[in-house]
Subunit: 362 residues, 4 copies
């Protein structure tokens, strides 16, 4: 009998339907099918590996995930420390705040009459609605809170920590901001000025001069210093956008000051954008390797799927990860109160990149 | 307190992660989130309604679903009669036959060196490989079988029934073709000449003159007559392509001869194509309504997702549908042996459209 | 000074805006930009090379190009013999016939009220409308014509030649079918049963028994024999679908019987589908190489763009190709009247693959 | 004769190929075809209307347009004042600066070996390469420049004006930053901390404490005040991302303080993202209407196309717009030097929203 080609070694195993399959069983049965189904199963396996390894897991989120019903999935990932640091668009944090404050988004139609919606002051996000008046009231709430803070620059990380604290103190409700506050998980929002949180901050200035100042360049320093302090990292990206690049940039910027940094050890992205138009959101993880954003032997997978399908399945499967295993994770410990945060007891400046790491490590 | 806008009635319910969630629980929790997650949950609900109603369910499949590990999902839908009539590309039937005959597709890489694959005669379907020699041997097997048949035209439906029978007789293995044969579910393949099954048929002519003849126009007559005989229909489409249009065409063509036909009562599609380039694969179900392909009050949903993610989840959830309920389904009963098939005991011609239906219905 | 990396040799040349740039100047200035703009410029260059080489150029067209205003672009490519053989979906030929017969498609809206359209019997193709009654009258016209033909099987190629002839005789109008008839360019329609032309053919049976029979498997034999007779080929694909695969299949099937056939020398596709869901429409030309559909050193380019933008630009640029150069082209000469067509004076059977080519070539 | 449906009034006019067609003739012939071709022709018509009307034209650019060879197209639109205010990602400005400083991006391959690229320190953007060392040298150049500035917060607008000035003074070369500097066109970069310009700024801190501070919330105030000062606006968006939302946000935020603001009068977007995943980049202009981002009777068009194909064609056609007509445009006159910019002689604060407009207008 003829020898099989070296390329023909692992047979596809057709998915077998059965009643009662749980999320992790579903994904296990998808490991040897093809296309994006296989990729999602691989993403599950890689995330499990991250959790078993000693890495700081960054989660980037873009797209209307909070308005779209996934905020408690992200909150769950934070609370169970399946992620260590969140980088988000402002909109996702804002829509999270909206619901944490007891408001809602609403089931709507993608084929709405937008003139009719506008006349009732209803804002549409594809098939989902929200009240413009409630949004305006949120902006005001944020502005009032921001105006109470000492008039000085804040990194988005510091401001969002304070916002999460205030939100928890006033509502006691679960959400992304409150979960991150309680779990001491830092949140960065590099494009905060392109969001309603930014709008709230800008309105704080109207209330009290000198308030509402975000030191967005400080975020770069701080995020890179997190990587310098703990060079082994992983990147999980939902939807591309500024969070995807910001996470990679932290690694690249850190490497500039610290040769121990050699790119993410693990990279996983769930995106709907495609590479062939050249935009960063859809760029491949292979491309990221050319920039040194990913380590040479990094495990990586790109899943082309809407997060509203992929993430509920993936996070539900991850809920099967043993709690004792999670407890054993050597995860980074952050202290987020105050102007200068710390990681594992070491200060993380937002004013200067750490250059003395090797000495301090001695 | 101010009255809520009529547009703000049903709150989004954020997905709650929990260990042990089964496929149908996952989809139930996705009913009130947004975007494609909600659409997939709606697809599940609509399919359940189809099963509870008295409709002939057409399933169209395009894209490399069989090579990609979903052939036993489709076989399961056929065997449990969650679909009544299959319309498929030739490739999906061919790749099914390949595995039913004991060959495999293989886990490969989307970043392969295609010149290296070509030199080892390995064919690539995105991230999945197959042996060209085994494919050639399949073609030959099909050609030999086709050459044994009486030299006359066959509708694709009749030929595929005979092929399924032969496959079952020689292998006794599960698959799409064998499941359809055993469950008396007709299969149409409108673009059979654009596939390796067609190639096998063309090679039959080399063996024996006059064989390998498919009466593809007869398929139009036959499929329309199925609808005329039983005008209440539903359409489930995976991936667009010729099956999508063929199923709609059966309805439109039937309506031409029988005013009882008024378009599908239910329509569900899982596609990755988009509407805005004008192609049929990505066309919306709203557009289908303008053509009369869908009934006025039809329940319909379009899910933008890769079937390799959406279908395992959806079919696993459908496995929860009660067997007693399925048993009560008033599904069409087909007799597929011979040149002229029948539905519920009534002949279904492939030579003439039925025009006397009202009389015969009396 | 440090040596430049071997990867950094050809600088991007930013596109320079100027008034009065013609289509070919536009594309020339896009040669050294990036992404799909560069790819379109490369497609232009490759098409020019095809025309200068001695190859049979196949053109595949899928998607609603005819309804969408591109039928006279395709007719122009045929009339100027920038393509030698057309493979099309039925819809594109049908919508071409519709306009050649003096009817129209109409500028509409993608945001139409489809129920209102349905009630006025207006059919929508994304942002384009047509009259259902006129369509029904077309079907009838096709059926009447088909019913006048001798009651025997026809390859789609033979039938479409006769249809083009009849259309030209009765209208004298320009279009795809009439241009192909007049230029002796064969047209194949592998999925003819999935189109309104197929519906017209099926209705011919109602008028006269035994008419409306298409030998779709004969199309496979005929198209492969065209390649066997003249093994140097090029493939231009607009929109994927069955034409894309059928053109490749002709090459693969031909190679089975004739070792001189080694895949297309040139391949160019303008598609909107993507590779990562595994479907054939979006599959890459690299993947095609693994199947032997493309020659080892073939020039190839894939352009991700809507043909309604890319094709007017590309075909207008190609209008600059010198007529004397076109006149010198050693293009294949087809005789299409009758059951058996010929190429360069050699018969092209639809009943048997040519196996004696080397002898006959002596 | 039967009356035509009201929906069937304007026939599709098939595109006619001819040698010598210029960009504006191409687009004129695409006005009555379908799909994205028609949309691009409509975009051309709408942009012409904007230029004839009295509106402030915002241009948003995301995606790797500068690296991809379109920076001089954008520079041309700025220099000829077909746009009045630019909102950009940092990457586009950075890659512009790179080339203005005499470096290059390079023609590369999308199928590169990224490990090999990484080992030669070549960074890949899809099919385009650049030297990592040159990038690092840019960062340093930006850092040095930023460190020379007075240590105080700058809006991104003020900093980018100074950067453009410095770039012009040191190079005298054409580009986006230098064209904007010379034409007094403000540039906002809301996500500056997510870019290499941000990285350069962060490195300035290492050189001199207190430098490299961007007041990103000040950008919100400033951009909204521009709209308050001159409420008639138009939005042109290339590629979605933060610029798209930031332009809309300026309008929404302005409306909060000034009831004369009622959304953009014109909106035109060229995007590759799609609406159905809920993200802002792909969101439809209809959806924008529900938020009040667009005026009730605004002219609007969305083109689904890669900007590297659409923009060269569109900008070349716009080069035909009569210079005398452009000269007559009542365009906004900006003064950008200094901490507080002005529009038409009126101060535009970045510290407080203008609330006294009606009075000042008296």
């Amino acid at each position: 009998m003829k020898k099989k080609s070296r390329f023909l070694q692992t047979p596809i195993e057709p998915f077998l339907v059965e009643p009662g399959l749980t999320a992790d069983e579903l994904l296990s049965r998808m490991e040897r099918i093809s296309f994006q189904g296989r990729n999602l199963a691989t993403a599950y396996r890689i995330w499990q590996k991250m959790l078993a390894d000693d890495v700081t897991i960054f989660l980037g989120m873009a797209g209307a995930l909070s308005a779209g019903g996934l905020r408690l999935v992200v909150a769950n990932l934070i609370a169970t420390r399946k992620v260590d640091c969140l980088v988000s668009t402002g909109a996702n944090l804002y829509h999270d705040l909206h619901e944490t404050r007891g408001r809602h988004h609403y089931v709507g139609s993608a084929h709405a009459d937008d003139a009719a919606l506008a006349s009732e002051r209803v804002d549409r996000v594809y098939d989902t609605y929200a009240s413009e008046e409630e949004f305006i009231e949120n902006d005001e709430w944020i502005a009032e809170f921001a105006a109470t803070l000492e008039a000085r620059p804040y990194t988005s990380r510091e401001f969002l920590y304070l916002l999460g604290q205030h939100l928890w103190d006033t509502t006691g409700e679960d959400g992304i901001l409150t979960a991150a506050y309680r779990a001491n998980v830092p949140i960065f929002c590099p494009a905060i000025s392109d969001s309603s949180i930014g709008m709230g901050l800008s309105q704080a200035r109207q209330k009290r001069t000198g308030t509402g100042v975000i030191d967005t360049i400080g975020d770069i320093v701080e995020s890179a210093n997190i990587v310098i302090r703990r060079p082994r990292t992983a990147s999980v990206v939902l939807g591309g956008g500024t969070p995807k690049n910001f996470i990679n940039q932290a690694s690249v910027q850190a490497e500039f000051y610290c040769s121990d940094v050699t790119g993410h050890r693990y990279a996983l992205q769930i995106v709907t954008d495609v590479p062939h138009f050249g935009g960063a959101s859809g760029s491949s993880l292979e491309e990221a390797q050319s920039w040194g954003k990913l380590g040479k032997d990094s495990a990586r997978i790109s899943v082309q799927a809407d997060a509203t399908i992929a993430l509920p399945l993936l996070a539900s499967a991850l809920a099967h990860v043993d709690e004792r295993q999670l407890a054993k994770r050597r995860k980074p410990e952050f202290m987020l109160a105050g102007r200068t945060m710390s990681i594992d007891g070491q200060a993380v400046s937002n004013e200067r990149f750490v250059e003395e790491v090797n000495e301090s490590a001695v």
